[in-house]
Symmetry: C2
Subunit: 462 residues, 2 copies
């Protein structure tokens, strides 16, 4: 950052936007100093609230002229410090760019501004018999979800955020506005910028518009809870279901401690055993055949109870309970902070990886549970940490690292859906090797002054 120019560049921002759109209010700065994770807070110098692509472009031009770092911000629900401005500067809050711009029902596409949240979008889509599939735990913004390549419970059938993005409008570091894709279902034209920008965590540009793929609400949906004596049995059943080619729409593992949190927080009385939450989408006849087959498979793995939820309200309750699980832990342990591991491994390695995580968790005597999108090989250890207890913090870091190393050594990844932010940066070299140099060259080519969310994903400290 150039010296002694803060007054100048804040003045320039006030010139480009209206006064209410440029805030140095302490409460506002504080709200933009943290995310939902255990990572240390740090305030921006200024928060701006643009309402248009042109305004975002104007902000980026000022940032480039004065060499001020910029962090894009949705609702701050990230879990690895993505939105925390450690280098201060400008935070761009996209909450005022929150319109669903166009629903193209015949094309199964929707065009939205980045500040639209997933629940807001689904409310709008329901009128058209459509839904948006990606459902992280938080009611995140679609801009933030694209920035981290978020996923959730449905990716085993519908894919992750990257699979839904047909086009992004992106403001680059110098203020240039580009489109990364088009409206066609497929393309072999030029380099695939859509997929490069999805998951770039604000380090390559700011998203100002997204065109996303949506789906027709299935004719028939059936949800189920299936309890097992051990986590191993539950994971075995998932592998069996996948091997059998049963087209499952959701399959979530919730371990025994986590089922206890579910019941405490969600006013349910589910059996407190390792449980799979399942869902099937399709037509009535096909589903019946699939479910009958699934029942045979889970029986082979000592399934102790299987409860079907055909009633819509019970089904909604089941998935809300699952989605609120991280918050259940947070509320259950006041004063502690949430640390969530997020590895994803090949399915053949899943049972071993979860067993290893459980054993290490028990050996360290930390508080936590295991949940996961096990159809993808992605699972989380939810750890509740006292940030004033150095020993506990160190143990949690060690556990995270052990689980990450186990995954990477078996062809997996340090993060299946939460992203790198600041928390997973130290594992990037181990995971990507020399490919990290290629990522560095791309970053350098597109953001030569290192202004866009500096030191996230890649270590850009000299």
């Amino acid at each position: 950052m150039k010296m002694n120019t803060k007054k100048e560049w804040v003045g320039a921002l006030r010139g480009a936007l209206s006064d209410q759109q440029v805030s140095v209010n302490e409460t506002i700065l504080e709200q933009h100093s943290k995310d939902e994770s255990y990572h240390a807070a740090s305030t921006p110098d200024v928060v701006v609230f643009p309402i248009s692509t042109e305004q975002v472009s104007a902000v980026m031009k000022i940032a480039t002229e004065y060499e001020v770092p910029v962090v894009p911000f949705g609702v701050g629900s990230s879990l690895e410090g993505h939105t925390i401005p450690y280098d201060h500067g400008i935070t761009i809050d996209f909450s005022q760019m929150n319109k669903v711009l166009e629903v193209r029902a015949e094309d199964f596409l929707v065009r939205v501004q980045p500040g639209v949240t997933r629940s807001q979008l689904n409310k709008e889509l329901k009128k058209h018999g459509l839904f948006f599939s990606v459902d992280p735990g938080a009611d995140a913004t679609l801009g933030g979800m694209a920035a981290t390549n978020a996923s959730g419970t449905t990716s085993v059938k519908y894919g992750v955020m990257r699979d839904q993005v047909r086009d992004l409008e992106v403001v680059l570091a110098d203020g240039t506005v580009i489109h990364t894709g088009n409206l066609a279902a497929k393309s072999s034209s030029g380099y695939h910028l859509n997929s490069l920008f999805v998951g770039s965590e604000g380090t390559l540009g700011c998203f100002t518009e997204l065109t996303l793929r949506v789906y027709g609400i299935p004719e028939f949906i059936m949800a189920a809870r299936s309890s097992f004596p051990t986590v191993d049995d539950a994971v075995g059943a998932v592998v069996g279901i996948l091997q059998a080619g049963i087209p499952i729409a959701r399959v979530e593992l919730v371990d025994e401690p986590s089922m206890k949190q579910v019941n405490l927080h969600s006013d349910t009385s589910y059996k407190e055993q390792p449980t799979l939450f399942l869902e099937f989408h399709g037509n009535a006849a096909g589903l019946k055949q699939d479910v009958d087959f699934m029942k045979e498979i889970v029986a082979e793995f000592q399934c102790e109870e299987i409860e079907f939820e055909t009633d819509n309200a019970a089904r909604v309750q089941l998935w809300e309970a699952r989605h609120n699980l991280a918050y259940a832990y947070v509320h259950g342990y006041p004063g502690k902070k949430l640390m969530v591991t997020d590895v994803c491994v090949p399915i053949s390695e899943l049972a071993g990886a979860i067993r290893y995580a459980r054993e290490e968790l028990d050996a360290m005597a930390l508080i936590g549970g295991i949940v996961g999108h096990v159809g993808d090989g992605n699972f989380h250890v939810l750890l509740m940490i006292d940030m004033n207890d150095e020993e506990e913090k160190t143990k949690a870091d060690e556990l995270n690292e052990k689980i990450v190393m186990y995954a990477i050594e078996r062809g997996g990844t340090c993060t299946g859906e939460h992203g790198v932010g600041i928390g997973k940066q130290k594992y990037q070299e181990k995971e990507h090797g020399k490919a990290l140099l290629v990522m560095g060259k791309i970053k350098q080519a597109l953001d030569p002054l290192t202004l866009l969310n500096p030191n996230k994903i890649l270590n850009t400290k000299s």
Copy 2:
């Protein structure tokens, strides 16, 4: 290219590889001077036949040292001049790197060398009850298919080549070897290099190994041919089927002139009317319900005949006939060359785009037919051109351009699956606008000497 060094760099290649792996034989050079398209031929100086990643890396190091252009080559089935070495230099022929290295059935993954062809892979996978979904017309290599982001008849259900690539081993311009991904079903770690390299047409690196997603052979498969009085009716039926949420695995349009070519070439006696070739994958009960629903929809669009092929041999014949259609045209018009348009448009624009293409084709009195992967909005006009007839060539170019402009103006793309090569380069700016500058920066960052397949996709002539 540095001056007066050809003898030196050919010598260096002979030093790094064995003598038989470095060819300057005229017949070999001539075989590597063209692809399956109408684009003008041009010979390389040398063709090398590496057998390992190390040898490819050695070749790239020599190419960089002597500043010699390099073109990777699979079987030369590209349709836009991708593999034609207009700047001469080294062609790397991957035909000796043709091993299926590993089948990880439990993970639904396979690891292959780039010279493996799709039919070779499927033969191997069948032993495991698995199949690879992407099926372009040609029996292309998997390396070539990844380089162009190929697709085919099944992408409406299983996705395109990019969706199947879990990891690539890539040799960069300077000989560095990287891996772009991992074995996990999803990842939010680092920039998504997989998708950037898929579709890069040899301009960013050479693929030396691919890890690909494969699928279980469905329990039940049903194919059908459905004839309509007009192309408009057939396209209307496709839109209706998609809107109804019927999970179709394949839906191909073949127009009346093309059905005639099918019958001439494939010894079939299908009705010579605009036809949809359809396929459904699933369980028996679900499929029955889907097909009953589908019948109601096609009936609304004046379907004149619907023939189901439940017999496996008849089903195979149906899809071979479809796959061989381009060759049917080529054999049907000896002396002429094939030019294929390849636009992809949003589904809502498909009927209009095909109608427009047919009208322009008729107005220009060119020989050709329309076929397409209409579930994706992707269609081809197959044109047979006399390359000695300048007027016909000009007309064909004009037609191609008109169809491309129509598509781009409606949110589509100039190429749905064939890639840019040299043929679609002139449309890149119209389609991508300022995003083309970003692509140029990425190319410059990864291939600063412009050695990798120069002047393909991007205009890299100074």
